[in-house]
């Protein structure tokens, strides 16, 4: 069965202060696939991700023009349409950063944090969701006995999986990952890669990566950013 288009980007340009970063980009991303975004440092790969969950709006000095349409819950949405609430968008389009960024609170509260933000009060549901998310990132067995201990006491790889679990707890349809393994050792990186391959079944993944090997291992599609434009990568 042919997979349908999940994200449509049209005429997207982006500048930070007076620097043009993305120039008139138009592309599509297919659902339930892993698309790797590659290119040299500082070229705007992370910026492209931030345009898909409107996170750039919280970075002073940023300006964007163009259109981004995402199919969420079966319906096409123009995510920059004023009627579409940004917090709802970010609940559907999760993001994991380069450096693990658990909040300075317990493992349990970290994972449940997005639910708290969304106003979820049902304790039983929260407990179930925590367990489900931790299992999805294979962290459950490692932390089930110390859910109340500080998340910062976990190792780097565990922290990154925790962040992944936190991004997954709201069942996002899209997951944006900004070099998720660059601060991890090779064993933890492979663990994350395996998780991403499993997650493909439930969401569309966009991964910024510097590692050609990693891209070969996990990506279904590859796009390369150069000079503010998307080009077909040279193999």
């Amino acid at each position: 069965m042919k997979k349908s288009v999940k994200i449509t980007v049209s005429s997207l340009s982006f500048s930070y202060h007076d620097r043009k970063i993305l120039r008139n980009i138009s592309t599509t991303f297919t659902e339930q696939t892993i698309t790797a975004i590659i290119g040299p440092s500082g070229i705007g790969k992370s910026t492209l991700l931030c345009c898909l969950n409107r996170l750039w709006e919280n970075i002073p000095g940023s300006r964007m023009s163009g259109r981004v349409q995402i199919k969420l819950k079966g319906r096409q949405h123009d995510i920059y349409d004023k009627s579409y609430p940004v917090s709802q968008l970010r609940r559907q389009v999760g993001m994991v950063f380069q450096n693990p960024n658990p909040l300075p609170m317990s493992i349990k509260r970290n994972i449940a944090f997005p639910l708290k933000l969304a106003g979820e009060k049902n304790r039983a549901l929260i407990e179930d969701k925590i367990e489900e998310s931790l299992k999805a990132v294979t962290l459950w067995n490692e932390v089930r006995d110390r859910l109340d201990s500080n998340a910062l006491s976990l190792s780097g790889g565990q922290q990154q999986r925790l962040c992944l679990a936190r991004a997954l707890i709201l069942d996002p349809e899209i997951l944006l990952l900004d070099e998720p393994t660059s601060s991890l050792d090779s064993r933890s990186s492979l663990q994350i890669e395996e998780l991403l391959l499993n997650l493909k079944k439930r969401c569309t993944l966009l991964v910024v990566s510097h590692y050609r090997d990693q891209v070969k291992r996990i990506a279904d599609d590859v796009v390369e950013l150069a000079g503010g434009k998307l080009i077909q990568p040279q193999h």
Binding site: N53, N58, N101
Partner: protein, 291 residues
């Protein structure tokens, strides 16, 4: 060349620390030698039994107990007024104000920070005169003093809140947003908890300032004898005011020495308040890395 310069700079740094330490040591030891011999229960509670005084059964007329309570109440009240306003203004400046508005507020708060305390005292005094015409009962009192002191320490709290929020790294700021937090949720659940450490340092500074200031309170409600204040609208006694009057108007050496003893009590009180603030800070920021 570089090594000589480096050595000179290091030497100067050490020398500066030495000056600071010896200055502090000199002040503390003078207070200790002059004030300690006169520091006893009699100085604090006078002829009243300490138990009766502490349980507020009997007023203390010839001791420092009312001044201690007065200072404590003054500090607590002033901080209670200044904290919500200061925090809100700091959050506004860091997270909401932009461009020219921010510039104007920055200048205004710098101006407020540079106003000498005697002028704040005069402002409080003028306020009483104006308000007295409307409300007959309103005279210089604990309420007016604490409001004036709150105005005095407001810039400390505003600035530390603003600076500590602004210094948070972009990644921390984006964490909450990426998880679907609204601006307010991001401020309250992510940014403020991460800044508590610095903000509480500002509060500690403010506590010290409230406890030691004399110029403001002598114009707005502190008197030599008042007993423990019965309400916010009563006049009150305060330790710095006592120290000031004793050192300006002492009749014999013995009386002057009680000024030193009162200074020791004031220092101890400040230490206790700092300890309390530090304890609160530790509990609130447990397990957090400082940024």
């Amino acid at each position: 060349m570089t090594t000589i310069l480096e050595k000179l700079i290091t030497g100067w740094c050490w020398f500066s620390v030495l000056i600071l330490l010896s200055g502090t040591g000199f002040v503390l030891s003078t207070l200790y030698y002059k004030g300690m011999p006169h520091l006893d229960g009699g100085l604090i509670f006078g002829s009243t039994s300490p138990m009766d005084a502490l349980l507020l059964k009997r007023q203390v007329f010839d001791g420092l107990f009312p001044a201690i309570i007065g200072t404590l109440l003054l500090v607590l009240l002033s901080i209670s007024w200044a904290l919500p306003v200061g925090l809100a203004a700091g959050i506004y400046l860091s997270e909401y104000a932009q461009g020219r508005v921010k510039l104007i507020f920055d200048i205004l708060f710098d101006l407020l920070a540079s106003i000498p305390s005697i002028l704040i005292g005069l402002f409080g005094f003028s306020l009483v005169i104006i308000l007295h015409r409307i409300l007959d009962r309103l005279t210089p009192s604990l309420l007016i003093s604490s409001l004036s002191l709150a105005l005095l320490v407001l810039p400390y709290i505003i600035r530390t809140t603003q600076v500590s929020l602004e210094s948070l790294p972009l990644e921390t700021r984006l964490t909450g947003y990426a998880l679907g937090a609204t601006r307010l949720q991001n401020i309250f659940f992510i940014l403020l908890p991460r800044s508590l450490n610095e903000i509480s340092s500002g509060i500690i500074l403010a506590i010290g300032r409230c406890a030691e200031d004399t110029a403001v309170i002598m114009l707005t409600g502190a008197v030599a004898t008042a007993g423990i204040p019965r309400s916010l609208l009563s006049q009150y006694e305060a330790l710095p005011f006592y120290i000031y009057t004793i050192s300006a108007q002492y009749t014999d050496r013995q009386e002057l020495m009680t000024g030193y003893s009162a200074s020791i009590i004031l220092l101890t009180l400040c230490l206790l308040l700092f300890g309390l603030a530090a304890l609160l800070k530790k509990r609130l920021t447990q397990g957090q890395p400082s940024h």
